[in-house]
């Protein structure tokens, strides 16, 4: 018999004090957010993402995989992840030429000649899953929030569609889904990572330029990646606690 006197008093007390429905709600409150997958414990993870710019070849696999996996609208101005091509002529990092045709979905048409004295590279972008995220700060109802495992998520059944968070994101990672009129953004493929899988973009990257990491797992290769490389985040002056780490991020990238 699993019930001792203390537990009996606790459960009876709750039942007497609250209605059964409220007692159930109280249990959920005590437990934190309901777990997404049976064996997944929010408190045991702290998700981060790393991109190795030196490995990205601009194939657009990640963009296509993301749009398919997450049912992102196909129009060229809705992206959970996209790839930018940087062309820095003669080391002039203040005036880079940047393009991202269809977010890199169709790859990049050849544009620059090798040996023209310029620097060329690709920069994959996605939500920075900031730990002091300016977007969740401004949401008037808390429909977007920082999950205890470090993912910044959106409750689409609660979002008003006021677009304040879109304005507040310094990185341009959010958009309004025209089908639901609610905000959408990278969820780190939450439905996959809570089942022990990696994200669709990481899965489909042919060069391993993208890496999902769990910083609460001491054996995660992310620790080694962050240790041996010169790591930068986008717009560090924004102090958003970004967890999207780049290796090889050039000063021209914004």
């Amino acid at each position: 018999m699993g019930t001792n006197r203390r537990e009996f008093l606790k459960s009876t007390g709750k039942f007497v004090l609250l209605t059964s429905a409220a007692a159930l709600a109280w249990d959920f409150l005590e437990a934190g957010t309901p777990e997404a997958a049976p064996n997944y414990k929010l408190q045991e993870h702290w998700w981060a993402f790393a991109v190795d710019i030196e490995k990205c070849i601009g194939c657009g696999n990640c963009v296509r995989a993301c749009k398919t996996e997450n049912n992102v609208p196909l129009e060229p101005y809705f992206f959970r992840t996209w790839v930018e091509r940087y062309h820095v002529p003669k080391g002039d990092i203040e005036h880079p030429e940047v393009d991202s045709p269809n977010g890199g979905y169709d790859g990049f048409p050849a544009r620059y000649q090798p040996g023209d004295g310029s620097k060329n590279f690709f920069v994959p972008k996605l939500c920075n899953h900031c730990s002091h995220s300016p977007c969740t700060q401004v949401c008037p109802v808390g429909a977007t929030f920082e999950s205890p495992d470090g993912a910044v998520l959106v409750d689409k059944t609660y979002c008003l569609g006021c677009r304040y968070c879109v304005q507040a994101c310094p990185y341009g990672c959010r958009f309004i889904d025209p089908r639901t009129m609610t905000v959408d953004k990278c969820s780190l493929c939450y439905h996959r990572i809570t089942k022990g899988l990696t994200t669709a973009c990481c899965e489909s990257c042919p060069t391993g330029a993208r890496m999902l990491g769990d910083l609460k797992n001491p054996k995660d290769p992310m620790h080694e990646f962050l240790r041996i490389h010169k790591i930068l985040v986008l717009k560090p002056q924004m102090a958003t606690g970004a967890k999207l780490y780049y290796n090889g991020l050039d000063g021209s990238v914004r």
Binding site: F79, W82, V98, G103, P140, V141, L160, C162, A168, G172
Partner: protein
Amino acid sequence: MESMIHGVEGFMYPNEIELQWSILIVLYPYITGLVAGAFILASLERVFNVEAVKPTYRLALLTALAFLLVAPLPLQLHLGHPERAFEMFLTPHTTSAMAMFGFVYLWYLMAVLVLEIWLDYRKDIVLMARGSTGRMRQLYRAMALWSDNLSERSLEIDDKVGRFITLVGVPSAFLLHGYVGFIFGSIKANPWWSTPVMPVVFLFSAMVSGIALVMLVYMVACVFRGTVIDMRCLDTIARYLLYTFIIDFALEMLDLIHRIYESDESFKTLDFMVHTQLYFPHIIVQIVLGTILPIGLLGLVQLMSLSEHQRKGFYATAGVLTLIGIFAMRWNVVIGGQLFSKSFLGYTTYKLDFATREGLLPAIIILILPFIILWVLVKLLPPWTQQEPAA
């Protein structure tokens, strides 16, 4: 660099190409500003005992109420899920400036404006209930909350409580609009918005627009009613308009000079924008036509001795220009802040539709609506019953 998408110059993050906030969000600070400004003008009479503006006291209050009733409408129309708007009251996210809007709004509408108007009008409402018949009598009786008490003691209490509410109302009006400025000023991701001066600039521009509006409404109302404009009142209002306008302009110039001198990472982009896409609405309409010219006109009246007729002309022109100028200011903040990329590498354009949910037509309707409400309010609660200006 050419772009693959029409209307985009240079590079924008792909998700930035579509503008998020439309002309409706331009109307929101514009209308709230008119409310706050009109209320502050009304408070001059009551709190600071400026006798001269008394003829516009009640008119200013009714104007503030008419516009305040419309203020949430553009927001509501803009939301992707208007039916969820009430969640802002039930589960407000306390770190969000926007979440607090509902509370500030309700506080201002119910606790300040409606109560102040009611207390000021209570005697008139009771008298109108006594003097009317049928449905109108029922309406006025309901508006008086079925009280018929006009004893000296009760009127004394009305006045005392009314004065207290006005005292609370002035900081509330400051809060209402200063806070609207904070909604924009606190967005660190957007350098066009992110400045601590923003709430103060919004506040003073609100006072400027509200004072100009009440001044114009008063002049037009006098023309329609065939009564003589109280020139002492008009001159005083115009003088207050001039003073607040000078402070407002000084603050805006301070912000501008600061930006130019500091020339931070965003400066080149913003500077280019002000010299191209925003040149007409910002330099021409907002600064030259909407600020320098009305300040000049109002200043001239102070320096020269003009006839009554000339002064009226100057005031009317300055008032209209002011309202256009402040509208341009709201436009340049809201729309201007979305025309450049947060990468500082490109620009997009705003395409204003006509008969869509966020188009020009609903915007025009929303701007006309307060005047219809004001007309009804003035019919219901005539603001001119006390003493008419001497002919």
